[in-house]
C-alpha cells in the first residue's frame, strides 16, 4: 500500500549550451538542479516561481517529454497497484505510465490541432492506447465532454478549435487529458491565458474533477493566489531549486525563506485599504548563494511538513 502518486528524488535536468560542435568546454545550464517532492494521492501540489526558474522543465521531465539528466522518479501504477521507478520501465510500461499521467498546457490556442475536429482531438489518445471498441470510444468522448461542461456534446463533436472561445478550448484540453482516466495530471499554467471571469470556472471545474475522479495535480503557476485556490501544498522554486515547500496556508502565513517572503510581498491584493508589507531582497546575492551551493540543498523540516532550504540566507535583506 502506497500513498503517493509520484515521488521525485534529486531530479536534475541540464541543458547543453556548449558553443560549436568541436568545443572542448562543456557548458551546461542547470535548469532543474536536484529537486525532491512527493505528491500524496488525491492531493495537489502547486509549483510556483518566476519565469525561467525551471517549473516547466520539471513538468516536461516528469512526463518523459524530455529525458532527465539524473535523479529518481517513482510513480504509482494503478494497474499493478505499486510504485515503479521510471528508469526501470519497458516499452509496455511506459505506455501505461503515459496513460496514467497526463498534461494540460498553458495555451489552448496552440495545444489543439487546428485541422482536427473536437471529436478527433479527444478520440486520439483512446485510439493510440486502443481502449474499448470504436463505439465505446465515441461514447467516452461524449461522456467526457458532458463532464467538462461542454453541453450538449453533440454540438461540439464536429466543430474545430477556432470555432470555440478560449475557455471552451481549455475545457477541450482538460477533456482530452481526463478521457484516459489518469491518476496524475500535470497542469502548466492552464488558466494564465484566460480572462478573469472564465478563469474561475476552469479552476472550479478542475477542482471538482479532482474530487470526483480522484486525480492529483502538479499545478504550475506563477500566481500564488491561484496556487492557494487550487493546491493543498505549495513548493517555491528559484533557479532550479526548491527553496521552500509547505502546506498552502502555512506557507502563506509563515514563510521562512527570503525568496518566498519576497514573492508573497509582491502579489497585489484586491483591497484598496490593504497595504502590503514591503520586503526586498538582493537577487544577485541570492543567485550567488544558490549557485555556490553545488551540493543538493538540504531541506530542514521546521514542523508540520514545512521544509526550507538550509543555505545561509541571513544577510539578504536590503
Amino acid at each position: 500500500m502506497n500513498e503517493n502518486v509520484i515521488e521525485v528524488k534529486n531530479l536534475v535536468k541540464n541543458f547543453d549550451v556548449s558553443r560549436g560542435f568541436f568545443s572542448r568546454n562543456k557548458a551546461v545550464v542547470k535548469a532543474v538542479d536536484g529537486i525532491s517532492f512527493n505528491i500524496p494521492k488525491g492531493e495537489s501540489l502547486g509549483l510556483v516561481g518566476q519565469s525561467g526558474c525551471g517549473k516547466t522543465t520539471t513538468a516536461r521531465a516528469l512526463c518523459l517529454l524530455d529525458p532527465k539528466t539524473s535523479g529518481d522518479v517513482n510513480f504509482y501504477n494503478p494497474d499493478s497497484d505499486e510504485m515503479q521507478n521510471l528508469d526501470d520501465l519497458n516499452d509496455e510500461q511506459i505506455k501505461q505510465f503515459r496513460r496514467n499521467t497526463q498534461m494540460i498546457f498553458q495555451d489552448p490556442y496552440e495545444s489543439l490541432n487546428p485541422r482536427w475536429t473536437i471529436k478527433d482531438i479527444i478520440l486520439e489518445p483512446l485510439n493510440i492506447h486502443n481502449i474499448g471498441s470504436l463505439e465505446n470510444r465515441t461514447e467516452a468522448v461524449v461522456e467526457i465532454l458532458r463532464t467538462v461542461g461542454l453541453t450538449p456534446p453533440e454540438n461540439y463533436l464536429p466543430r474545430y478549435p477556432h470555432e470555440l472561445s478560449g475557455g471552451q478550448r481549455q475545457r477541450v484540453s482538460i477533456a482530452r487529458s481526463l478521457v484516459m482516466n489518469p491518476k496524475f495530471v500535470i497542469c502548466d499554467e492552464p488558466t494564465s491565458m484566460l480572462d478573469v471571469s472564465i478563469r474561475i470556472s476552469i479552476m472550479d471545474l478542475m477542482l471538482e474533477l479532482a474530487n470526483d475522479l480522484d486525480v492529483s495535480y502538479l499545478y504550475i503557476t506563477h500566481d500564488l493566489a491561484v496556487a492557494r485556490y487550487m493546491c493543498n501544498r505549495i513548493a517555491v522554486m528559484f533557479n532550479g531549486k526548491i527553496v521552500e515547500i509547505a502546506k498552502t496556508e502555512d506557507l502563506l502565513n509563515n514563510p521562512i525563506h527570503p525568496y518566498t517572503k519576497r514573492l508573497i510581498s509582491s502579489i497585489p491584493v484586491p483591497d484598496p485599504k490593504y497595504t502590503r508589507e514591503k520586503y526586498d531582497i538582493d537577487f544577485t546575492e541570492l543567485d550567488q548563494i544558490i549557485a555556490n551551493n553545488t551540493e543538493n540543498l538540504a531541506m530542514v523540516d521546521v514542523g508540520d511538513e514545512h521544509f526550507v532550504a538550509t543555505h545561509d540566507v541571513k544577510d539578504l535583506l536590503i
Partner: protein, 323 residues
C-alpha cells in the same frame, strides 16, 4: 480643488468592418483630475484599450468617432489634424504600451530612440541637453545611464518596461496612460514596476490612467476607477468605495472572482457565458443575459446610463435601484 486635466464626454466610437459596425466604445464619460490616478478595468474586448487609443487619437483606420468629445486641459482633441495632434501627443499625453518588447525598434539604441522623441518636439535642444534629460529620467525609473547605449535585445523585460516609462515621460506630459504595463512581466518584476510608476507619479505630480484586467492591481494603483463591460462604463467612482460597496452586478462578480492571498480562503464565483457581440447597437442592459443576480429591482430594458447613487459614485441604471 484641483482641476480636471482630461474630460471625456459621451464618447462613441465604432470600428467599421465587413460584418457591420462594432460598437467598441458607447457613451463613455469620465474625467481625470490633476495628479489623480484613474483605473479602467474589465475583461478582454470590453473596450479598455479602444478608449486608450482614442485618447491619443491613435485608433486604427477603420475606427470612427461618431460623437462625443475629449478635452485635454480644456482643449478639444477630437477632429484635430494629424499635425496638430503631433503637438498634443507626448507633450500633453503619452502612453506606456502593453508589450515592452514590441514597443522598441530592435535595431536602434534605447537612448537614441528616446532622443528621437524629444527631438521631434523640441528640435532646438542639443544632443547633450537631451542626454542629460534622459539620464535624469533613468534615475527616476531606476536604470543606469549605460542602458542608453544598449540595444533592446540586451535588456530584460523589466528593464525594457522601465525604459518605456522613461520614454513616456520624456516630453513632460501632463497625463500618462498605462495600458496593462505589467501583464507580460513576472510577479516580482511587476511589483517593482508598479512601485516605480507610483513613485514617478507622486514625484512629478502626473495624472495617470491605469488600464488593467487585474482588479487587484487597480485596487493598489488608483484613486478612482471605472468598470467597463461591452463598451460601456457600468460603474464609476472612488476605488475604495467601489471595493467596499460595489453596486453593479458585474462589479460584484469581478470582485468575487479574484483570488487573493490574504484573508479567509473563499469560494470564488465564476461568470458563465460570454460577452455579447458588439456588432450593431445593443439595447437595454448589456450585462442582463449573463447577470446572476437578476432581481425584481432590475431594469434591464432601460438603455444604459449612469446614475449617481452617492457622491461621485455612479452606476448603470439597471442596477441602481437595488442599491
Amino acid at each position: 480643488m484641483s482641476k480636471n486635466i482630461l474630460e471625456v464626454d459621451n464618447l462613441n466610437m465604432h470600428y467599421e468592418t465587413l460584418e457591420g459596425n462594432v460598437m467598441a466604445v458607447n457613451n463613455v464619460t469620465f474625467s481625470v483630475k490633476e495628479g489623480e490616478s484613474f483605473g479602467l478595468v474589465g475583461e478582454s474586448g470590453c473596450g479598455k484599450s479602444s478608449v486608450a487609443s482614442t485618447l491619443l487619437q491613435l485608433q486604427s483606420d477603420n475606427a470612427v468617432i461618431s460623437s462625443g468629445s475629449i478635452k485635454l486641459d480644456g482643449k478639444e482633441i477630437v477632429g484635430l489634424t494629424e499635425n496638430e495632434l503631433r503637438q498634443v501627443r507626448w507633450n500633453d499625453i503619452s502612453i506606456v504600451f502593453q508589450g515592452a518588447m514590441n514597443a522598441w525598434n530592435p535595431v536602434v539604441k534605447i537612448g537614441e530612440q528616446i532622443r528621437e522623441a524629444i527631438r521631434e518636439h523640441y528640435p532646438e535642444k542639443s544632443k547633450k541637453e537631451n542626454t542629460e534629460k534622459i539620464s535624469e529620467l533613468f534615475k527616476i525609473v531606476g536604470l543606469e545611464d549605460s542602458i542608453m547605449d544598449r540595444y533592446p535585445h540586451e535588456l530584460s523585460g523589466g528593464m525594457k518596461q522601465r525604459a518605456v516609462i522613461a520614454l513616456a515621460l520624456s516630453c513632460d506630459p501632463k497625463i500618462v496612460i498605462a495600458d496593462e504595463p505589467t501583464t507580460a512581466l513576472d510577479v516580482v518584476i511587476q511589483d517593482q514596476i508598479l512601485n516605480e510608476i507610483k513613485k514617478v507619479q507622486k514625484l512629478l505630480g502626473l495624472s495617470l490612467i491605469y488600464i488593467s484586467h487585474d482588479i487587484a492591481v487597480i485596487a493598489e494603483m488608483t484613486d478612482n476607477m471605472a468598470v467597463m463591460y461591452a463598451g460601456s462604463i457600468v460603474e464609476l467612482g472612488p476605488t475604495e468605495q467601489i471595493f467596499s460597496s460595489p453596486k453593479h452586478a458585474y462589479t460584484k462578480l469581478l470582485l468575487e472572482s479574484t483570488p487573493s492571498i490574504v484573508g479567509e480562503k473563499k469560494k470564488l464565483r465564476s461568470l458563465d457565458g460570454e460577452p455579447p457581440s458588439l456588432i450593431n447597437k445593443l439595447s437595454g442592459c448589456s450585462f442582463a443575459p449573463r447577470c446572476p443576480d437578476k432581481e425584481t429591482t432590475c431594469n434591464p430594458e432601460l438603455d444604459m446610463e449612469l446614475v449617481e447613487v452617492s457622491a461621485g459614485h455612479y452606476v448603470d441604471n439597471c442596477c441602481s435601484r437595488g442599491a
